[in-house]
């Protein structure tokens, strides 16, 4: 009777089934967020708190006054918050794999990678929240985006796409590491230097020579510059293409690695 109910006898899920199952898994993650809104705390608080703090603490020193600092700061905050938001893909995955419900997923006739893909897709919602909040915060504080709505939308799309690509790094850590706290810990050790040793919050020419070099070659700087050019002038620059290419390389390396490591455990 089960065979007939599923209408299939193939020994694996088809592509259409896999896509459907992935969207159900994403739906599940969103249901969970609705039940536990506190899981959104990081993406809700960080854009608001960091924008306020950085603007009023560093704004005067770097750009003369907080409002003049915003065109430099908002893209930086945006990139940092979105990338940090992408860590939760790994932490959430680890959390799930440790729970009883995961055994049920593994015993269901669904695509093996559906829980992984679902978590990855659902997190796009988190990136969108960060983008919306950061720009809203910027607008409230007096940011005048010269790039207009087009520039803002393009910048939002860019960081969302790049964050999704980067999330595969943390997904891999999530699959490999033993606890969710470990995932967050390891990810933060990578992220703090990576986001701060860049041009996200200060012009690089104010840095000591060694740091200036590091910040210049840091891939995060390319993304920040690309976002700045979009927000402050709707300009498409080489940094944009380099960011997209870099993100694509990350996906091409880390997505297969993650899926392989995941399948071995799933």
């Amino acid at each position: 009777m089960t065979d007939a109910a599923h209408g299939k006898t193939a020994n694996r899920a088809g592509l259409r089934e896999s896509v459907r199952q992935t969207s159900v898994m994403a739906y599940r993650v969103l249901l969970r967020i609705r039940r536990r809104p506190e899981e959104l705390a990081d993406v809700l608080i960080q854009p608001i708190l960091f924008t306020l703090m950085f603007a009023y603490i560093f704004g005067g020193a770097i750009s003369g006054d907080p409002v003049s600092y915003l065109p430099l700061l908002i893209p930086g905050i945006l990139v940092q918050s979105v990338i940090m938001g992408s860590v939760s893909t790994g932490a959430g995955l680890r959390d799930d794999m440790d729970k009883g419900v995961f055994d049920r997923f593994r015993s269901l006739p669904i695509a093996r990678a559906a829980p992984l893909a679902g978590a990855s897709v659902a997190n796009i919602v988190r990136y969108a929240i960060v983008v919306a909040l950061t720009f809203a915060m910027g607008a409230v504080m007096g940011l005048r985006a010269e790039g207009g709505l087009i520039g803002i939308l393009a910048a939002g799309l860019l960081v969302t796409a790049v964050a999704w690509c980067i999330s595969w790094i943390f997904a891999l850590i999530g699959v490999m590491v033993r606890s969710a706290a470990g995932v967050t810990g390891i990810s933060m050790i990578i992220l703090f230097p990576l986001t701060f040793l860049s041009n996200a919050f200060v012009p690089v020419d104010t840095l000591p020579p060694l740091l200036e070099t590091v910040a210049t070659v840091n891939p995060v700087s390319y993304l920040v510059t690309a976002v700045r050019e979009l927000v402050n002038g709707a300009a498409i620059t080489n940094d944009l293409w380099l960011s997209i290419a870099g993100a694509a390389v990350i996906v091409l390396i880390f997505a297969p690695l993650t899926v392989r490591a995941y399948m071995r455990k799933a």
């Binding site: 009777m1 089960t2 065979d3 109910a5 599923h6 209408g7 299939k8 006898t9 193939a10 020994n11 694996r12 899920a13 089934e17 459907r20 199952q21 159900v24 898994m25 739906y27 599940r28 249901l31 969970r32 039940r35 536990r36 729970k99 009883g100 419900v101 995961f102 055994d103 049920r104 997923f105 593994r106 015993s107 269901l108 006739p109 669904i110 559906a114």
Partner: protein, 319 residues
């Protein structure tokens, strides 16, 4: 098409140096309730997990309706339902949301999944708790939800790993009813248990497993008759008569009875008829009998007869 729901041959699973499953061979006929009985650490759960495609075997073969669990795992998953010892539901969702998500994963449309969820919650008496967080659920409610989740599409083969462990007697009886109903509707049920009475009550056939090996297999009656058809328990009027009574019983019954700590004489007998001769000899010897009991053997005694230890002893011997 095979006549068996499950065929396991010389199955082996190692955890490091420990042979958790050590050459298990068994057949589960279609449509039956099959009990896998054994103490903690005997290899019951490992065997079920291999059949449910959750673990890969290290040797031997396991087939579900003729499909190899390793090579045709996805096909096997289409035919089975699994409810483990620990609730495999999403703690962060409500009961309804859990059932809807699992239903949609099985290919039901959102609306159909919601209808099926409501039906199952009703059937398992969880309607009132449908939207409560699972953290407020009792162990019994969780187990019921877990089984409901396995029945969204009624599986041809249902694995239940210790379905009543930790449940109160009333919930346990409900669980037995659920299992019988499932089998009555045509599903094959394979369940593990540490409780001998549970296997005796529910199962059509039983495999007794100890230390990764099947040590006995058959219907409950076959297993019982393997230790003698009945057990005689005698309490003499005074304890100092026990030794003399045992000599006489040994002479009459042809087996040497045991004397328990309480001074009771316990012996396997072929039938109640033998007792008449024994009582006559007691009267001739001037021995008085206080109580006399003839019992059909329990699976506890079966376990004792096969392994030389009680099920509790065996359970304590394992981690």
């Amino acid at each position: 098409m095979t006549e068996y729901a499950v065929e396991i041959d010389s199955l082996v699973k190692m955890f490091g140096d420990n042979r958790a499953v050590d050459g298990v061979t068994l057949r589960v006929p279609k449509g039956s309730i099959y009990g896998v009985l054994g103490p903690n650490g005997a290899g019951k759960t490992t065997t079920i997990n291999i059949l449910a495609t959750l673990l890969k075997p290290d040797g031997g073969s396991a087939k579900v309706f003729g499909h190899d669990v390793r090579k045709e795992a996805h096909t096997v998953r289409r035919m089975i339902g699994v409810t483990g010892q620990y609730a495999s539901v999403d703690e962060s969702l409500s009961a309804t949301e859990n059932l809807i998500v699992f239903g949609m994963l099985l290919g039901l449309k959102r609306k159909k999944a919601a209808e099926r969820a409501a039906e199952l919650l009703e059937e398992f008496g969880l309607t009132d708790a449908a939207n409560r967080p699972l953290s407020k659920f009792s162990g019994g409610m969780r187990r019921r939800l877990d089984i409901a989740a396995s029945l969204i599409v009624v599986p041809a083969l249902m694995f239940l790993d210790e379905p009543t462990t930790g449940l109160d007697p009333r919930t346990r009886a409900q669980m037995w009813d659920t299992i019988r109903t499932l089998a009555a509707k045509g599903s094959t049920v394979m369940l593990t248990t540490q409780y001998l009475d549970e296997a005796d009550n529910l199962a059509d056939r039983i495999a007794v497993i100890d230390r990764g090996k099947v040590i006995a297999e058959g219907t409950p009656d076959e297993l019982k008759s393997s230790v003698g058809s009945s057990t005689l328990i005698l309490a003499m009027e005074s304890r100092d008569q026990s030794a003399r009574a045992r000599e006489i019983a040994s002479d009459v019954l042809g087996v040497t009875p045991k004397i328990t700590d309480a001074g009771h004489i316990v012996a396997p007998i072929a039938g109640a008829g033998a007792v008449t001769d024994l009582l006559i000899r007691f009267r001739e010897a001037g021995l008085g009998v206080q109580t006399i009991t003839i019992k059909k053997p329990t699976l506890d005694e079966v376990f004792m007869a096969i392994t030389g230890k009680t099920s509790e002893d065996a359970a304590e011997g394992e981690p």
